[in-house]
């Protein structure tokens, strides 16, 4: 539970808010590269941390993320012509490059140096791991790019999905670090009917069915925390699921074959973008794995109107609030605990999107199994308050700290510390020097 004032502090992300400023100290994904592949293609409308932006790829393939509004008369640059190295506003012809530098103002006298004094607000970008990232913080605080291992492996070892989540970013992230719900929301009623390419240990369903009240441990780390859930199997076997939370909003959840993770990026206070990655540290994903995890599956972006009427380009799942996530009560009785014949993220969204858009945490009722959620909130609140008082987050400058992998394993060890030590190389691997960015 949180007091309303703390809930406000931790959920609101617009410019000038404490949590919004904390987000702005980190590189954030804003759009998938595949959603803006063509040089001189159509700009993509975004809203990130409450700011309306356009992303575009110029003639040379470079990506820019600029304010959606032309600095001249604030016409929306989504309608701009993307041509010859820049974005030209169709209202009066002002043209800007990917950095926001003004290249041409045809409406001003030829001798004028006005264009040298005008800029379109914009942010530095990088393309890594199949995503376009932006740094939206103060220029003098710009950190190195975080060493996400999944973003460094060859492109055929990873699939990326980017989609809309229609609720506040925090309740989405809280679901990602909550291992207890796996025993319920994502469970099949017949343990033998698991997908053959399931990423978890072989007897995953038996373990989570048998022990629905895992023993939980949260260990604070430089990057956030590592979180272990232990389920008892037989007399001498324990099923451990390890997740990482990385400040501010990345989770890397368990897997022993391919590894899943997600970065939740606030669109505004009531909507978020989910950038999911599923990857294998050592080999290319099979076609079957890529299809099973590639949730975009070739769907293009579509216009989506936010509550205030502003339109962004995004991808909305066909299972959504408008159709009750296609819940099937027969399936609920006979096959799936949730009754939702969708992916785990769709089951997750059915829960988080049908809370309030911004969950009122003064009304919730937590138990001791919610320790990870509690620890995360407390850390974020402290970091946001510290930043408001001038204490910068040290993690932003520790690019190496982002090298983590979720993991699940059956172990004879009952002690968190023992199993963590035994599998440290899987959970926090060293740098891969031969990897290439895709």
């Amino acid at each position: 539970m949180l007091r309303p004032e703390d809930n406000k502090l931790i959920t609101e992300v617009g410019p000038g808010t404490p949590m919004g400023e904390l987000f702005r100290r980190f590189w954030l994904p804003v759009v998938a590269s595949e959603d803006m592949e063509d040089p001189d293609g159509a700009p993509v409308r975004l809203r990130i941390l409450g700011e309306d932006l356009v992303a575009f790829r110029d003639t040379d393939g470079k990506v820019g993320v600029l304010s959606a509004y032309c600095p001249h008369r604030r016409a929306n640059l989504f309608y701009a012509r993307n041509e010859e190295g820049g974005l030209r506003c169709v209202y009066h012809g002002w043209k800007f490059d990917v950095t926001g530098r003004c290249l041409h103002i045809p409406s001003e006298p030829a001798r004028s140096n006005f264009k040298d004094k005008v800029r379109a607000p914009g942010y530095p970008t990088q393309e890594r791991g199949g995503l376009v990232w932006a740094y939206m913080g103060p220029p003098d605080k710009q950190p190195e790019f975080p060493e996400y291992e999944w973003a460094e492996v060859p492109a055929n070892q990873r699939v990326i999905s980017a989609s809309l989540v229609e609720c506040n970013w925090l309740q989405t992230l809280e679901g990602d670090i909550d291992t207890a719900h796996v025993s319920f929301l994502h469970r099949t009623l017949n343990p033998s009917t698991t997908l053959k390419w399931a990423r978890f240990v072989e007897n995953f369903t038996e373990y989570v069915t048998k022990d629905r009240s895992p023993s939980l441990t949260v260990k604070s780390t430089d990057y956030g925390f590592v979180y272990g859930g232990r389920r008892v199997g037989g007399e001498d076997d324990y099923y451990w699921r390890f997740s990482h939370w990385l400040v501010p909003s990345t989770s890397e959840t368990p897997g022993s074959a391919e590894r899943p993770g997600r970065i939740v990026v606030p669109i505004d206070d009531r909507n978020s973008m989910s950038f999911s990655f599923v990857w294998h540290p050592h080999r290319a994903l099979s076609a079957e794995e890529a299809i099973a995890n590639g949730r975009n599956n070739g769907q293009p972006l579509h216009p989506w109107e936010l509550a205030d009427g502003y339109v962004i380009d995004t991808r909305r799942s066909p299972l959504n609030r408008d159709n009750d996530f296609k819940i099937d009560r027969h399936v609920q009785r006979t096959k799936r605990f949730s009754g939702i014949l969708g992916t785990p993220p769709e089951e997750d969204r059915a829960m988080t999107e049908t809370m309030e858009p911004v969950l009122d945490r003064s009304k919730e009722h937590l138990g001791t199994s919610d320790i990870a959620i509690i620890a995360m909130r407390r850390r974020l609140i402290k970091m946001a308050r510290d930043l408001a008082e001038g204490v910068e987050p040290a993690l932003a400058k520790q690019a190496w700290a982002f090298r983590t992998r979720g993991y699940d394993v059956v172990s004879r060890h009952a002690e968190f510390e023992d199993v963590l030590e035994e599998h440290m190389s899987e959970l926090t691997p060293g740098r891969v020097t031969t990897a290439t960015s895709g």
């Binding site: 539970m1 007091r3 703390d6 023993s215 939980l216 441990t217 949260v218 260990k219 604070s220 925390f225 232990r230 009722h365 937590l366 138990g367 001791t368 199994s369 919610d370 320790i371 509690i374 620890a375 407390r378 850390r379 609140i381 402290k382 009952a414 002690e415 968190f416 510390e417 963590l420």
Partner: protein
């Protein structure tokens, strides 16, 4: 004590000094609150205090359920638990302990009063 020793709930009431142990919170009573007080006393670190916050959250849940069931004492318990929760969150163990101790004392009084009432019936 290791930094990340495994937590489980089998040792409630053991009286040891293990800040990574989570108290089983199943009832809002004097004994459970006393166990949580003990855990706050042995939890100096912020990550340990997150464990304590989870226990206080669970106590608050029980107090709120009591309030919703019409227990007239519960509003004071809730306020004391809010105080303990916020002080633990701020790392102020002294004030958190003061709030929890007051809660424990109020629960003692309530139990006595209710026992007298039951005996007189």
């Amino acid at each position: 004590m290791s930094v990340c020793s495994m937590i489980n709930a089998e040792a409630n009431g053991a009286g040891g000094a293990d800040p990574w142990h989570i108290v089983d919170v199943e009832t809002l009573d004097v004994d459970t609150v006393a166990l949580v007080i003990h855990q706050v006393e042995v939890s100096p670190r912020a990550d340990q205090l997150a464990y304590r916050e989870s226990e206080i959250d669970a106590l608050w849940t029980l107090a709120d359920m009591a309030a919703q069931a019409g227990d007239t004492d519960a509003s004071e318990w809730l306020e004391l638990l809010w105080q303990a929760h916020d002080h633990v969150g701020d790392g102020d163990r002294t004030r958190a302990l003061a709030a929890l101790t007051r809660l424990r004392d109020r629960l003692v009084e309530t139990e006595r009063r209710r026992n007298r009432h039951n005996a007189s019936m």
